[in-house]
Symmetry: C2
Subunit: 238 residues, 2 copies
Amino acid sequence: MNLIEVSFSTDLFKHYDCKGKIVVVVDILRATSVICTMFHNGVKEIIPVRSIEEAQNYKEHGFMVVAERDGKKLDFADFGNSPFYFTKEIVSDKTIVYSTTNGTNAITIGKEADQVIIGSFLNISSITNYLLGQSKDIIILCSGWKGKFCIEDSLLAGLLSKNLLDSKIFTTKCDSVYTSIDMWSIAKEDLNVYIEKAAQKHRLKKLGLDDVIGYCLTLDITTIVPILNGDRIISFKD
Amino acid sequence: MNLIEVSFSTDLFKHYDCKGKIVVVVDILRATSVICTMFHNGVKEIIPVRSIEEAQNYKEHGFMVVAERDGKKLDFADFGNSPFYFTKEIVSDKTIVYSTTNGTNAITIGKEADQVIIGSFLNISSITNYLLGQSKDIIILCSGWKGKFCIEDSLLAGLLSKNLLDSKIFTTKCDSVYTSIDMWSIAKEDLNVYIEKAAQKHRLKKLGLDDVIGYCLTLDITTIVPILNGDRIISFKD
C-alpha cells in the first residue's frame, strides 16, 4: 500500500518529507490548467521560473514568456495567464517561459521529490492512471493563494485522493486528504455553483478574467501528464 | 457587518492581519478543551508558556505546572494534559502554568490581536454569544498539529463560523471559513464517528489517552469564556 498526503498550501509543504515520493502540483485557477492546455496543444517544453527578474531575463534572450502577478499580465510578457491564449498556432513545438503568482512557486519547491507532475481537472483521469502505475507514495501540493488555503486546488486534491483510495492500492493517515474528499463530495453536485465560495473566482471576476473558470473545472480535456524534468516541464511519454 | 476568517494552522497565521480583531484559539485535542475545563472548575488564572525551559523555571519557583509534548506528560510537570485531572479540588483558585505541543504556541502568537479568547466545543454557545456582542472582525486560529492542518480544530471553526454567519451580523470572503462549515455539515451527524478520520485521535489512542475524546467533543459543558489578559488567561466577566 502506498500513502497519500495533501499539503493545503505551499507554506505547509515544509512539514512533508517528499523524498522518494511523487508530488502532484495543483493550481486550478490557473497555472496547472494552463500548463495542461499548452501541452494538449503541442508545446515542446515549459520553463517555470519563480521571479519576475528571471522571466524578464529570458525575454531579453528571445524566449516566449508568459508572466502574471495577481492575475494581471506583466508588461514585458508576451501573454498573460488565460488558457484560451494558448492555441496550437501559438504554442506548437515552442519552448515557453512561465511565471505566475502561486503555481510556478509550487512547482519549483517540489524539486526534492522523486517526481513532480502537473495536475488539474483537465487531466484528472490521466494523472490518476499514471499514479496507479507508479507504486510510490504521493503528496498532492495545493498551490493556494500567496501561502493561504484555497478551495479550488483542494477540490482537485479531493477528487484525486478519492480516485486513488478507491483503487485500494493507496491508503492515508492524513487529515487533509479526508477533508479534501469531503469537500469534493459536496462540490461535485455542481462545481460551477460551488466555486462561488472561492475567493479566486471573485478576484478573476474583478479583472474580467473569470471566463476561464468553467473550462478549468472541466474533466478530462486532455490525456497529457506534464512532468518536471530538471528545470523544465515536458510531457510524459510511456 | 464584521468579517470572519479561519487560519487552518499556526503556520498560516502570518498571512492574516489580526490588528483590531478578536482571535479565537482552538485546540480541541486537547489544550483549549483543558483550559475551558480548568476555568469551569474554578482555576484563578493560567499562564501559557511556549518552551519547556520556561515551564521548568516556573516549576522551580513553586508553581503548579501542566506540561506535555507529543501527548506525553513531561517528567518535571505536576500533570499531563487530560481534562479529567483538573477537578475543582485540584484547580480551584489556583494559578497554573501550562505548556503543550500546539495550543499554547497558538495562544501566544495571537498577541497582536485586540483580544485572544479560548474556544472549544465545551463553551461553543458562550463564545458565540460573546463574539456576537463585540462588533469586531474575527480570526479563528486552529492550532493544528506541529504546523499542519488538523480535522478536529477545523470542525470547531466550522460550527463557530456557521453560528456567526447565521446571525447575519457577520460575513466572510475566506475559503477556509466555507470549507470548515462544509466539514461541520458532514461531521455533525455523528462527531464520534467522524473523529476516526483525525490523526490526533489515533495518536492519543496509541498513548492510551483517547478516553477524553468524547468529552472534548461535547457541546456546552461550561459558560466560561477564557480570555488572554497580558500574559495570563483569565475568565471573562461581564
